[in-house]
């Protein structure tokens, strides 16, 4: 289902490592279906990772990212128990969000 994100965040030494698996078809818009019609483009355009209130990462994605994208981010700081949130928007106005606590 569009919108789901599975997130894990783990403190490793001074670094917090975040892994996020997103459910999205990431359709490039270049492919044709069996009837020869172009399949409409449907891909994530903006993705962001937050640690508490702070924006840790912002990304602009495009059609080159594959289906069900897997994102890994490491940042300095963070403590077990802190909240990490990942959000995305796509070119069709869809959104996704997920959050977890750092372990």
């Amino acid at each position: 289902m569009a919108g789901r994100i599975k997130i894990r965040a783990q403190k490793k030494g001074d670094i917090t490592e975040v892994k996020a698996l997103m459910r999205h078809p990431m359709e490039t818009g270049m492919r044709k279906d069996e009837a020869g019609e172009a399949i409409p483009a449907h891909f994530i355009t903006e993705v962001a990772v937050f640690h508490g209130d702070q924006t840790v990462m912002q990304g602009h994605w495009g059609a080159a990212v594959s289906a069900n994208p897997f994102l890994g981010v490491r940042f300095e700081g963070g403590e077990p128990g802190d909240t990490v949130r990942v959000t995305w928007e796509d070119n069709q106005g869809g959104t996704g969000e997920g959050q977890t606590t750092i372990r």
Binding site: P25, D33, G59, S66, F70, F75, E76
Partner: protein, 271 residues
């Protein structure tokens, strides 16, 4: 790996796979190995597992019923450990059935849904997020994670199905004279760079049977064994294998029995 600077150092890696399906000039699996390493224990199939579970408990059809009354061989509604006992004989249909055929049976009888519409699109096309049957099969396979592969072979019909499966396995046909055995009766072989399990042997069969259904990275989808066989036959230049057909059930019986004793670990992650 580059290091950033500043108070909050951000290191980012994301997987951008511009996959081309032509033969790559890389060692076997190459970029797919990198993907697997990055994923670690993760597998996009986890979404499909959740979706399958939801579907099981969703009321559908004219009878507005969930699939909770569906008997997968271990009693009504018992899903844990059911997948590893397939294919198996069912007295209520007087047939040996694979998981897909059994699900279709439950959808049509318990939920009252129309056979044509339930079977119209068994397998996703690339770009879909998955079909209902694929999601249910994925969840059911996960419900047998770690279990011993043990297809039923107590009923005469089940044993006949094995014999039939073996004969079909070796049946050469089509302009290229290909059978399943052409690629799958020898060990340590590969086609281009894709390694080929020997499905006539226990080790090869256990490896294959235990790792399907699987998330196919190149497809962005979870694919079932039924789909895998359909695609094999396409590459063999045969016509199209139908989901839940006798041939599908027979070949799965042959593989599952050869795999018996192995461990179920699906959904897997494949190129």
């Amino acid at each position: 790996m580059p290091r950033g600077y500043g108070v909050k150092t951000v290191f980012l890696w994301s997987v951008c796979l511009a996959l081309s399906l032509g033969a790559a000039r890389v060692p076997a699996d190459g970029v797919f190995d990198q993907y697997r390493d990055l994923m670690g224990d993760d597998n996009p199939a986890v979404f499909v597992i959740d979706e399958g579970e939801e579907l099981w408990f969703t009321a559908q059809g004219p009878k507005s019923a969930t699939l909770e009354a569906c008997d997968l061989g271990l009693g009504s509604g018992v899903t844990a450990g059911a997948y590893v006992r397939f294919p198996r004989y069912f007295a209520d249909t007087n047939e040996v059935m694979d998981v897909e055929a059994r699900l279709v049976h439950c959808m049509t009888t318990i939920q009252g849904r129309d056979l044509e519409s339930v079977t119209a699109k068994p397998y996703s096309l690339r770009g879909d997020l998955g079909t209902e049957i694929e999601a249910l099969v994925t969840w059911l396979a996960a419900e047998s994670e770690g279990e011993t592969i043990a297809p039923e072979q107590t009923h005469a019909a089940e044993r006949e199905m094995y014999v039939l499966g073996e004969e079909i396995f070796f049946y050469r046909a089509g302009p290229h004279d290909f059978s399943c055995a052409t690629c799958h009766e020898q060990s340590e072989m590969r086609i281009r760079l894709q390694s080929l399990p020997d499905l006539t042997s226990h080790a090869g069969a256990a490896n294959a049977w235990g790792s399907w259904p699987a998330y196919r990275i190149s497809q962005g989808l979870v694919r079932t064994m039924g789909w895998r066989m359909r695609d094999c036959f396409r590459q063999q230049r045969w016509p199209e294998l139908q989901m839940g057909s006798t041939t599908s059930i027979a070949l799965q019986t042959y593989m599952a029995v050869n795999a018996a004793g192995g461990v179920m670990s699906a959904p897997g992650l494949k190129r």
